[in-house]
């Protein structure tokens, strides 16, 4: 049984076929990397998997459960979370409150208009723990606006980790980071336990290749190469795509 499987996935924008008959099967605990030049349709694929876009054809299954028709807001309840390429955090709030909001999304409490959120001890404690996992608990009370870009990238990941996903989609987690920050994030990502399956989109080859077990190469919405690291790097099509046609 795959953790995440995509079969014949199609998406068109007008006449443009952004996702073309994509097949993907990620095993539980796997570390999969998706690469491809700009415009290959990588983020679109994530948007389709998480449900923000509706596919024109094909299916998506999560641990053998068909989620193609499941509304996007329910997919996290089924165990799939994502981070964003462009940081989409709650600017006016503290780090702690950001992560608390993430946890709240899964809890019935989110409909409650009577109790005080700040007094929900269990929730707040778990938020702190999650911040600790990304080594940011010392900044819990800091407003997001006063943190560095690298710290915000880690909060992005914390938001997704907080919800204890079974499958985690990381969309360019290293984008715009300095060498040191990249090292921190890589350490964070590699420390995620094996009960979480990770699919990552990335451009930064050095860091990503360290991390990946299997690699899928997308080009013009299609899967063109797939295999383990050695195979993909040596493949002539990979070189063709990256060095120009």
């Amino acid at each position: 049984m795959s953790a995440l499987a995509v079969r014949g996935l199609e998406k068109r924008f007008g006449g443009l076929r952004v996702t073309a008959a994509v097949d993907l099967a990620v095993e539980p605990g796997e570390r999969r990397l998706i690469i491809g030049p700009n415009g290959a349709g990588k983020t679109t694929l994530f948007n389709l998997i998480i449900g923000e876009l509706r596919p024109d054809g094909g299916s998506i299954t999560l641990f053998d459960r068909d989620i193609t028709r499941v509304p996007s807001r329910r997919r996290i309840h089924l165990g799939i979370a994502r981070t964003y390429q462009i940081i989409t955090l709650f600017q006016g709030e503290t780090l702690l409150r950001n992560v608390t909001l993430s946890l709240l999304g899964l809890s019935r409490l989110r409909w409650n208009p009577f109790v005080r959120l700040a007094r929900q001890e269990a929730l707040v404690a778990r938020a702190r723990e999650t911040l600790a996992r990304v080594a940011l608990d010392h900044l819990a009370e800091r407003p997001l606006a006063q943190t560095s870009y690298g710290e915000r990238r880690r909060v992005e990941i914390a938001m997704a980790l907080a919800q204890n996903p079974r499958v985690l989609l990381l969309d360019e987690p290293f984008a715009g980071l300095s060498v040191d920050e990249r090292r921190d994030v890589l350490r964070l990502v590699t420390s995620i336990p094996r009960d979480v399956t990770i699919v990552m989109i990335e451009h930064d080859m050095d860091v990503a290749l360290d991390f990946a077990e299997r690699i899928t190469v997308l080009h013009f919405g299609q899967v063109v190469v797939e295999g383990d690291r050695g195979e993909v790097v040596a493949h002539p099509r990979t070189k063709e795509i990256y060095l120009g046609e």
């Binding site: 998480i50 923000e52 996007s72 807001r73 329910r74 997919r75 996290i76 309840h77 979370a81 994502r82 964003y84 989409t88 955090l89 709650f90 600017q91 006016g92 409150r97 608390t100 909001l101 993430s102 709240l104 999304g105 899964l106 809890s107 409490l109 989110r110 409909w111 409650n112 208009p113 009577f114 109790v115 005080r116 959120l117 700040a118 929900q120 006063q146 938001m159 919800q163």
Partner: protein, 327 residues
């Protein structure tokens, strides 16, 4: 420190009929409070949910008209209140379902259209609303046997309702649901991915907003003993929005300050200048262009900045000028 200020404010508010000079001013104070309740209601949508509405006077007016009709049909005040609020909630639900079909500016346009429908009905459907002649009612309720006929008594009753409104708003804002609402304002896409039902959250926020607008409308009916189409005109919705943005959206104090500002200006200015609409429009334009975050956040920001500059310790961070905007 904050508790002391709160207690002091309560005492001052409670004593208003005693220190303000004359029944005219007591009435102004009542108006300020009831419109503050309206502004707080509008703020739930505008400030906390990030959905600007220019049709809320429609809900305010529906409550007033419904209350007037129930009363003139011979029912007691409990029925009046229940009837008015029930009708307003149904209307709010209808408004919400329709307005939420649009996003951003589409939402605003739809609320304008909805407000205009209510106005059109109030103006034309003479058999139920009496058109331009409006509907009068006789008498105010007597809770616990106490008459509310005098301005002071009515003021205290309004104050009581106002305090309940503020308290419930404070609870809402600090609650998980309140945080959800604010989340949908700031990052609706992410909220969706985090598992929140964004549409439902907005719908419920609309209902909450409509409820308090209805309460304010009912209070207005009792205050004025008369309701006419003027109450649901676009200018009324604009004034409500002005109250919220001038005081500062997404704060509790903002709508209250805004209400005081608009009511006082309206009454003072009307005494000297005939053209209140011109002034209202000019203030709108001025505030939107020069002080988009509203008076309360703007003043708070300046106060913090001044205090930080005063203290010898350089540790306090100076907030960046330019602010976030209440959007």
């Amino acid at each position: 420190m904050k508790r002391l200020a709160l207690a002091a404010a309560l005492v001052i508010l409670a004593a208003v009929p005693l220190w303000v000079g004359g029944t005219y001013y007591v009435n102004i104070a009542s108006q300020i409070l009831l419109f503050a309740i309206f502004a707080l209601g509008v703020n739930v949508l505008v400030g906390y949910a990030g959905l600007a509405s220019l049709g809320h006077a429609g809900l305010f007016g529906i409550a007033a008209y419904a209350g007037a009709r129930v009363m003139n049909d011979g029912h007691g005040h409990v029925a009046v209140a229940a009837g008015a609020l029930a009708v307003t909630l149904v209307a709010s639900a209808a408004f919400a379902v329709l307005a939420l079909r649009g996003t951003g500016l589409g939402f605003v346009m739809i609320t304008v259209a909805l407000g205009q429908i209510v106005w059109g009905v109030a103006y034309r459907w003479i058999s139920i609303t009496n058109g331009d002649n409006g509907i009068s009612i006789k008498g105010r309720p007597s809770p616990l046997g106490l008459s509310l006929a005098s301005p002071a008594a009515f003021y205290w009753a309004t104050l009581a309702v106002f305090l309940v409104a503020v308290a419930s708003m404070a609870i809402f804002v600090a609650s998980p649901f309140g945080a959800s609402v604010r989340g949908t304002r700031d990052q609706p896409r992410r909220m969706n991915a985090l598992g929140y039902h964004v549409w439902m959250i907005r719908f419920l926020a609309f209902l909450l907003s409509g409820f308090w607008s209805g309460v304010a409308g009912l209070l207005y009916l009792y205050y004025n003993q008369f309701v006419s189409p003027q109450v649901v005109a676009l200018t009324a919705s604009a004034e409500a929005l002005l109250m919220v943005i001038s005081g500062g959206t997404a704060t509790l104090l903002g709508p209250i300050v805004g209400s005081a500002l608009v009511i006082v200006m309206k009454n003072v200015v009307s005494a000297y200048i005939e053209r209140w609409n011109f002034v209202l429009g000019a203030i709108f334009v001025a505030i939107v262009v020069f002080m988009p975050e509203g008076l309360v956040p703007g003043t708070v920001r300046l106060a913090r900045w001044a205090m930080a500059a005063w203290r010898p310790r350089a540790a306090a961070p100076v907030p960046a000028p330019g602010g976030e905007g209440g959007r």
